[in-house]
């Protein structure tokens, strides 16, 4: 596969809860390569969301180091982190990802217009992505006029629009039925093949897990096991 784009070195994250510290991550070291399609699984409370937030530059580790495309995240200020998220990372959350006052088209376009991408290029990109996620004809609908699955597809289109290095999806299928989950996974897989972006998604759903090329199983803030269902290295 490609080169290493994400590097976690002995990362810990302790949440302070009053006097007690909750150890959400206890020394995680991990690398991700470009173009990966990777699942994070493990019991509730095992640290999946915490790990994704750290990779996505939304949170900072208590100790250890997170490096994204060579940038040590602890060295960046708030604004630089914002720009890094805008330009190199795409997020898909469990639900209610979209801005209610913007249409599907406008939601998908949002990151591009924040980046200042020109009108024509923006339109081409967004229309082709909406088509790719199967939403052509529904561009002008507002989120409340879309089903949960359709909303997630718009979120995926938005995450991909800026050609990020990595797409982080925290339980993207948790709020949809299993048929829709399968559709979303097909979509993500296809997009992963077309675009160079690394996909990292967390899930509890066994059928979703088995679609991954690499499965990272977490238990109690640590990596319990890494497997490669398709064989491979």
């Amino acid at each position: 596969m490609g080169e290493t784009i994400i590097d976690l070195q002995n990362v810990t994250r302790v949440y302070q809860q009053g006097d007690v510290g909750v150890q959400a991550l206890r020394g995680v070291s991990l690398q991700f390569e470009s173009g990966e399609f990777c699942a994070l699984c493990g019991p509730s409370g095992s640290g999946k969301t915490t790990l994704l937030n750290l990779i996505g530059a939304l949170d900072i580790p208590t100790s250890g180091r997170v490096t994204l495309e060579g940038h040590d995240l602890s060295q960046l200020n708030r604004r630089q982190l914002s720009h890094l998220r805008r330009d190199r990372i795409g997020f898909v959350f469990q639900a209610y990802n979209l801005i209610p006052v913007l249409t599907a088209y406008e939601n998908a376009e949002l990151v591009l217009s924040v980046q200042g991408v020109g009108d024509t290029e923006r339109r081409e990109k967004v229309m082709s992505l909406l088509q790719a996620v199967g939403l052509d004809g529904k561009e002008d609908r507002f989120p409340r006029e879309l089903s949960g699955g359709e909303q997630q597809r718009v979120a995926i289109a938005r995450a991909l629009a800026s050609d990020p290095a990595v797409i982080l999806a925290d339980e993207p299928t948790a709020n949809v039925d299993s048929d829709t989950a399968k559709l979303l996974l097909d979509l993500m897989q296809a997009l992963n093949e077309q675009h160079a972006a690394t996909f990292i998604f967390s899930t509890h759903d066994e059928r979703v897990i088995e679609r991954a090329k690499r499965i990272i199983r977490m238990v109690d803030g640590q990596i319990d096991n890494i497997s490669f269902p398709g064989g491979g290295s």
Partner: protein, 422 residues
Amino acid sequence: MSRVSGHSIPVIAWRNLWRNRRRTLLTLSSITFGVFLSVMFTAMQDRNWSDMIDLAAKLGGGHVTISHLEYRETPSLKKSISDASPLAQAALRQTSVARVVQRISGPVMLNTASESYGASFIAYDPAQEDASTLSFLDSDALLAGRMFANDNEKGIILGYKLAENLNAELDNRIVYTMTDKNGDIVSGLARLIGTIKTGAPNLDARLSLLPLSTVREIVAYDSDEVTQLAVFIEDQRDSEAVAMLLDSVIGTQNLAVLPWNISQPDLAAFIALKLGGTRFMSAFIALLVTAGIFNTLFVSVMERMREFGILMAIGFTPLKLFSLVMMESLWLALVGLLGAALLTTGPYLYLASTGIDTSAILADQGSMDVAGVAMSTTLKVGIFPESLAVIAIAAIIATLLAGFYPAWRAGTVEPVDAIKLV
């Protein structure tokens, strides 16, 4: 397909405004109504005091009075200006100066066959003056008889109360006695040709009018000698500036050039007090409106924390989120002001042109008299453009201030925590 280029901050802010239509409409109406009240109060005051100052100028020495330096302390005819015409001409050359009139005034003793009263007199040139320089020359003020026909007739006009006190009827003889330029006691004889009613009790009981040339002769003045030049200007608010200008242009060691607020300090103090009241009222309204806007924006920001977290996650900077909320409050201000403009225009135009007759309310008082100045009983409005600008800018600033803290909260959202909220 043509689309509005999606999400410039103003567009998102505008749509956000209408997410809770009822709440936004309530806030907008409070801005609109607050601005309406402020404008109406201020317009009433601006007009009222302006009219009052103009009237005071027409009752006394003009917007700016030029006299001998010591005349104000001791209004004696010894303290005169000897070269009135060149001074008047020099003053008239200043752009804001509309008119300059010459007068002699001072204390006088009046005698009829049966009575004797002390009073004050104004001697003016009937050819030079009219109701816009001396308000009692208005035909409404004339109670009986007539005004002067020429500048050297042997007539006198009295406040009607003074005439009553003197037991003087039209055409009766009246002897007036004053101290002339040289300190000698001199007298003149005149017939009562008219009585006036000004509405101001102290004028009706104490004022007498005489023709200028007649008095000049009696008090041994030269042909160009007066005690006072009354200067009238277009906009009373320029009084102080014009007084300073005239002082620098024509001032000498012996001349005092005083704006109305110094020559009539009682009136100036009264108006300053009233204006302070209006400002306080406007500030209070602004505070209420600001609190309302703050509440709306704060609640709406707190409801949207998750959304701000997502925006932050996908790359909005803190500054951009801050601007988004500030833009929402700016929209509130602008739409509120537009509403205020629509609401205010009709009533304002009506009150500015037609006005409301308050005489019924004031009937038992007879007349309104402030610091010796009788006021009209028709309530009218007229706002200075500057006052309007101040109100509009204050409304925008108040709205932005109200938006500041909510916007700051939006800009400092912690995405990790916010996104957990569903």
